[in-house]
């Protein structure tokens, strides 16, 4: 009871003390993390050849699926570009006059499943053909314009499915005055199916190589654990928690991941630089705007983070499996 009056002050001091203690504990925890991260990085640096080998293996294993994914994205860009311009070319019969063609254009344009109709009359079609085909001299020998009037029909975006376009094409073909309808979607569909197939293959490959990366890291960490057996025993003896014992190895895994990610990034950029010239020439030959897309910065950062996660996961598996097995026993014989 005699101490009653002094209690509030003590409590206040106690609270301040425990606050600063909590700060100290948090601070030393962070300091310890920094130290462990630095130490495990330094260890990798001290065995540069072995570390480089692991980084290269990881880099190659990760660069491959990422490169294929980039290729896939580029291909999808191609087909997306074509889908947006998917138009139905409707050739009208030769005997149709310009007025009749314009009337037909209005009729088709009023349909609900048509977004836009463009009429290319036979004269301007010939002029364009003359300009782009390089056959101007040959055309001069013709007595009359062989080209019909043409309607370019653009379906609305909702109708740009293979089935929708096909149905529209069939209906247009049935109209009087229409000679032939041409939809060049076949190759697009084939490309789409192929990209989908490729996408699956890439994901399977990515999954397998991701597992390989985890195993490589796991094995490397297992060796590191064996090398530091004494240290692990002593740390466990002086009361180190499992988390404390694991920490340096998890950081090692993360550093391996980071190094592997950087190698993968470097390999990707290198291959892209090497391939971009030939690809541009090839695309130009096909009149395509196809370009191999590189890894954007956020993609590269995602790659690094993902690589670090893989490294951490591999290390965690190795640590879980091998570290718990190292338990101290009194070494002195008696």
């Amino acid at each position: 009871m005699a101490t009653e009056p002094t209690r509030p002050r003590q409590q206040g001091r106690g609270a301040a003390q425990s606050r600063s203690e909590a700060r100290d504990v948090a601070g030393s925890y962070l300091a310890h993390h920094r130290k462990v991260a630095r130490e495990s990085g330094r260890r990798l640096w001290q065995a540069p050849v072995a570390s480089l080998m692991t980084w290269l293996v990881m880099g190659v294993a990760m660069a491959m699926p990422v490169a294929l994914l980039l290729l896939l994205t580029s291909l999808e860009g191609v087909s997306a570009g074509w889908e947006s311009s998917a138009r139905i070319t409707t050739y009208l019969t030769d005997n149709l006059s310009l007025e009749q063609a314009q009337a037909l254009r209005l009729e088709v344009g009023s349909r609900g499943d048509v977004d836009d109709v463009e009429l290319i009359d036979r004269d301007s079609a010939l002029a364009e053909f003359r300009a782009t085909s390089g056959l101007a001299d040959a055309l001069d020998y013709l007595d009359e314009n062989p080209l019909p009037h043409t309607l370019l029909v653009t379906p609305p975006e909702t109708g740009r499915t293979a089935a929708g376009v096909e149905r529209l094409a069939a209906e247009l073909e049935a109209l009087p005055g229409v000679a032939r309808v041409q939809v060049d979607l076949g190759w697009l569909q084939r490309l789409n199916v192929m990209t989908q197939l490729l996408a699956r293959a890439v994901w399977v490959l990515a999954l397998l190589l991701g597992c390989a990366v985890i195993l490589v890291i796991g094995n490397t960490i297992r060796l590191a654990i064996e090398n530091r057996r004494d240290e692990i025993l002593v740390v466990k003896l002086v009361g180190g928690t499992d988390a404390f014992v694991r920490r340096p190895f998890l950081y090692t895994g993360v550093w391996f991941g980071l190094g592997g990610g950087l190698v993968a990034w470097f390999l990707l950029e290198l291959s892209l630089w090497w391939l971009s010239g030939p690809i541009e020439r090839l695309a130009a030959l096909y009149h395509s705007n196809f370009a191999l897309s590189g890894l954007p910065l956020d993609g590269a950062l995602a790659l690094l983070v993902f690589a670090m996660l893989l490294g951490w996961l591999g290390a965690w598996l190795a640590v879980k499996r091998h570290l718990d097995a190292i338990e101290p026993g009194v070494p002195a014989g008696s």
């Binding site: 025993l233 002593v234 003896l237 928690t241 404390f244 009194v330 002195a332 008696s334």
Partner: protein
């Protein structure tokens, strides 16, 4: 501080390392644990340090029953127990300072306190001037003292030593024992496993004697060897 109640430890079905061991050590008490090779000294220490669990009976350390202590609690119990080994278990990839600092790092002691406390422990064992050296550069006696500094740096209430003077000459051994006496004077319970009979005799302290796993001497006594059965 330490209490063994009818503790039995069997390995497999045929080997019994400890048979119904009973004893009690008070706070600040210094006792020796002796016996021939294979008498169970190591097993007894392992039970206290939670490296082994008893097959029967109870081990109580610092008021806590260790029998069913969950695995994740084990590190926190070990932080209250300083251990000195015959082969000192120092790490040769770091300095004396870093070796002694290890138990403090494990406990998450702030960096600025670590320096002060490590130097205090090294000063206590007379090795303050060698903090930056690698333990490999030290003599056997010095290495053992580094081991002791590491065992006491976090001021544990209990200090165990397994053959701490096993590799040392008598003079150095006496120095080490003197250190242990000093710790017990400030309230640390010290249990030293040793077969150095002459040294134990010179110290004149309570001695627990194991023979084929049975405690044949010093179990119930609180005084000297004369109280044995």
């Amino acid at each position: 501080m330490i209490e063994f109640q009818q503790v039995t430890k069997r390995y497999g079905s045929d080997h019994t390392a400890l048979k119904q061991v009973n004893f009690h050590l008070d706070r600040g008490e210094l006792a020796f644990l002796t016996g021939h090779s294979g008498a169970g000294k190591s097993t007894l220490l392992k039970l206290i340090m939670l490296m082994e669990r008893p097959s029967a009976g109870q081990v109580v350390v610092g008021g806590q029953v260790l029998n069913n202590m969950p695995r994740r609690q084990v590190p926190y119990i070990r932080r209250h127990i300083g251990v000195v080994f015959q082969n000192h278990q120092l790490l040769f990839d770091r300095t004396v300072f870093d070796n002694v600092a290890l138990p403090l790092e494990v406990m998450g002691v702030p960096t600025r306190d670590i320096g002060r406390r490590v130097r205090a422990a090294l000063d206590k064992v007379g090795l303050l001037s060698k903090e930056k050296m690698n333990p490999m550069q030290l003599s056997g006696g010095e290495q053992q003292r580094v081991g002791i500094a590491r065992a006491v740096v976090n001021k544990p209430p209990l200090l165990l030593a397994d053959e701490p003077t096993g590799n040392l000459d008598p003079e150095l051994s006496a120095d080490i024992m003197h250190l242990f006496e000093q710790f017990s004077q400030v309230g640390v319970t010290v249990l030293i496993a040793s077969h150095d009979i002459s040294l134990i005799h010179d110290m004149g302290r309570r001695t627990l004697t194991l023979e084929h796993g049975r405690l044949v001497n010093g179990g119930s006594a609180l005084g000297g060897m004369a109280h044995g059965h």
